[in-house]
Symmetry: C2
Subunit: 454 residues, 2 copies
């Protein structure tokens, strides 16, 4: 018997990611440029991933210096690195068995959360570190999804959505129940829509969890405190587990936008909510000011979970042998950064510049043929393309989604590699292709300084 | 509804790992030692994990220097690092978009495999990199296990076994079908026993795959070419997918022991086997001479899989956003090490010493009260403890497995933290506790030089 016959049916349902053609064309162009072929541009700018370093943003010096000294400890004695860097590396290695970077590193994330949430306590034993928040999300879903249940387990997800979460849900044998975000309201999340989505699931699946991304990917929408409270009340009423993806919590820059964590809002709402609503909040070194995607490290904080369930989660997270140690160190640096007076503080503190680019970017896209609601936070601009009927016709002839065709032209003529917005639509209950024709969208990681030249 | 009611039933079946009590006692003792409490020993030696750095083995200088320069590129211009290190770092960064370590790194593992296998070709497109081999194993199992099937999917696993794989299998909703390795034959794998195991599954589950660890963990047994061929023939006859865990392939040191990869043996067997038997081979930077557990990086090579299945596997591996970049660089250094003439070659080449310790260790354990068959390879000595009835009685009174009790004493009196061998027995069809009373075993990571003092 070949594997194909017996294959896990949920794996078949996973949406195949389709950046492929664009990415390989970009590689060809890069190769041509290297060989001296002339184009309007000298290099390809890749803003197709949420990886700011890949797009040319420089990593933070402090972070990289500490990591280098941890990797190769003789650097701790070198005068070329600032004193606080060397002390920090020494301290990090002190917590590692054998004096070398190894498994089992633990860090003070709970202190960071407490500061963030205005003093609301956070317990280290409710925090699990893993190789990126995407992985944590998968682990928590693994606990929530009963692949043998009938009707199937359902998870409410926003549309547009960070697509890998939707893929994970399908892969585990659950059903995605879409709730649509409203472009007219700058992609705001609306409780009536959650209600509609939940009702749409009747007879199809058994929804147990609600996935929220705040600040939004790809929308850039930042929920107000009131909006967060409404969602919590809805989850409480319907007995839904809250999966809150807060990886962009440190990238909020819109006027009047403020990040309020679900944990904080929940705690401040008091009983009965504060002691009952089950919540998982995800964060990562991939985003925020660190942008260290390649290190693969994130954490999840769990609130109000049954101790028995916490035991299973412990097993799941320890089975995978710990998360990458350098990522764990970066997590520690992110949550306990240099302080005023430290030699590295002035340089570390220059991060505000990124935010300016982002703001500017959002304005840039309100050009003829493009529109984009104001962006409150996150790493993306989700831009509507007002394509001509001719261009839509052309893309159909080529068998491409209109936005993919546009992205292809942007790459060929502008040297910028982006992700088609249609990737962010997983469609009703796991299907694909709900995007109304002629309203393609484009997802731009707006972090790149060079984008100003566009 | 609380999560506990709806929880994935497979998660409940996952064996809870029980190092807990021992590890936290070890932490207490370390803390006491730090505070000046006197004991027979000055430090706790932790050989309970397969993490040699944790046990005090020094990381390879070349590897750590290249990684440091990749993390913090100004080091490339520093005269303090050898020229080949700086050149290598430069080259690695050249392959990363944005000139900084980011996602999407690819490396020449296939060349390494081809060299290893005497020229048998290996295609890069059949290789997937991930955050450690444990994760790759999980991904491939995810494809193979149909959690909705009835009867359930079965996977044959060795007993004793690297326990996390068994936990992954259960967590995905499959059933573990144990085949017992024979201590009398130095833990050799025997085809008649595979046959018996397969028959035992009748009416219980539908076995689709056979998991083999070669060189063995925790047994240290290294299969001969003939033994590998027998297993391949068995898999072919029974239509089983071969999951071969070859993470210890670079740690073979027993007299007359030789590592023969399943891929090589399969290829050399010729048709019909070479074109039909489906195989996944796992390797990792955690083991071998690198021992870089904390970087989290491994790969899987797939042989004879249907292209449609390969597509699903592609989606699964890309969903998790790539593996840690520094681990990928380490994988590249492992598979393309310094060559004679390179400045770093002489130091890099001093790795043989580890093997001597291991050999010596195996002899060490043949003391009164202990016995251990000759060890062919791997990182462990799986030692039989001939405990007295009194000691077994005592452990029962304390509600501990006899070997856990022994490990506790070894920690208290000898300052050495080990893993009880009973952890490696998952028992028939996923249950626990098949270990015959009075024959406890102990699993010792034997890498630590200091063990000679024991
Ligand atoms: C909303 C959201 N969640 C999670 C992730 C993944 O983060 P990590 O790199 O921590 O796995 C991303 C990355 O793009 C994201 O946009
Ligand atoms: C047999 C075996 N396979 C896999 C692993 C895990 O390796 P990795 O660190 O690459 O996940 C180990 C680690 O101890 C092991 O012993």
């Amino acid at each position: 018997m070949s594997v194909l016959q017996g294959i896990n049916p949920n794996i078949r349902k996973m949406k195949q990611l389709e950046y492929g053609a664009l990415a390989s064309r970009a590689n060809q162009i890069k190769e041509e440029l290297r060989k001296g072929v002339r184009r309007h541009y000298k290099e390809v700018i890749d803003v197709s991933w949420g990886d700011s370093h890949r797009a040319g943003v420089k990593p933070l010096t402090f972070v990289r210096q500490v990591l280098a000294a941890c990797v190769y400890p003789p650097l701790i004695n070198s005068n070329n690195l600032p004193l606080d860097v060397r002390q920090r590396a020494q301290k990090q290695l002190g917590t590692c068995a054998g004096g070398s970077v190894g498994k089992g590193y633990a860090c003070g994330i709970s202190e960071f959360i407490k500061r963030r949430d205005g003093g609301i306590p956070s317990q280290p034993e409710n925090i699990y570190i893993s190789a990126g928040s995407q992985w944590s999300i998968g682990n928590i879903l693994h606990v929530l999804v009963n692949s043998e249940a009938s009707p199937k387990t359902g998870v409410l997800i926003p549309v547009p959505c960070h697509i890998t979460t939707a893929v994970s849900i399908t892969g585990l044998g659950a059903v995605t129940v879409p709730y649509y975000l409203s472009e007219e309201q700058a992609w705001a999340l609306q409780v009536e829509e959650l209600q509609r989505a939940l009702e749409s699931a009747k007879g199809v699946c058994n929804p147990v969890a609600l996935y929220v991304i705040n600040p939004g990917n790809p929308t850039g929408y930042v929920q107000s405190r009131k909006s967060v409270q409404e969602v919590i009340r809805f989850a409480s009423e319907k007995g839904l587990f809250l999966l809150v993806d807060e990886v962009y919590q440190d990238s909020v820059y819109g006027e009047n936008s403020e990040f309020v964590s679900y944990k904080r809002a929940l705690s401040e709402m008091g009983p009965p909510f504060s002691g009952t609503v089950e919540l998982a909040s995800f964060h990562s070194v991939s985003k925020g000011f660190l942008g260290e995607c390649g290190l693969r490290s994130g954490y999840v904080e769990l609130v109000n979970l049954d101790p028995a369930v916490m035991n299973y989660i412990q097993t799941l997270f320890s089975k995978d042998s710990s998360s990458p140690v350098l990522g764990q160190i970066a997590l520690d640096l992110m949550t306990d950064p240099p302080k005023p007076g430290d030699p590295s503080y002035p340089l570390y503190n220059q991060v505000g510049t990124l935010e300016l680019y982002l703001l500017r970017t959002s304005q840039h896209y309100n050009l003829p043929g493009l529109s984009c609601p104001p962006i409150g936070g996150g790493f993306y601009a989700f831009v509507r393309l007002h394509l001509t009927p001719k261009s839509i016709q052309k893309s159909k002839e080529l068998g491409l989604q209109p936005d993919t065709f546009y992205c292809m032209k942007l790459l060929e003529e502008g040297g910028v590699l982006t992700t088609p917005g249609s990737q962010s639509f997983s469609g009703p209950l796991g299907g694909a292709g709900t995007l109304p024709a002629g309203q393609p969208l484009i997802n731009l990681n707006a972090l790149k300084e060079k984008l100003k030249e566009l």
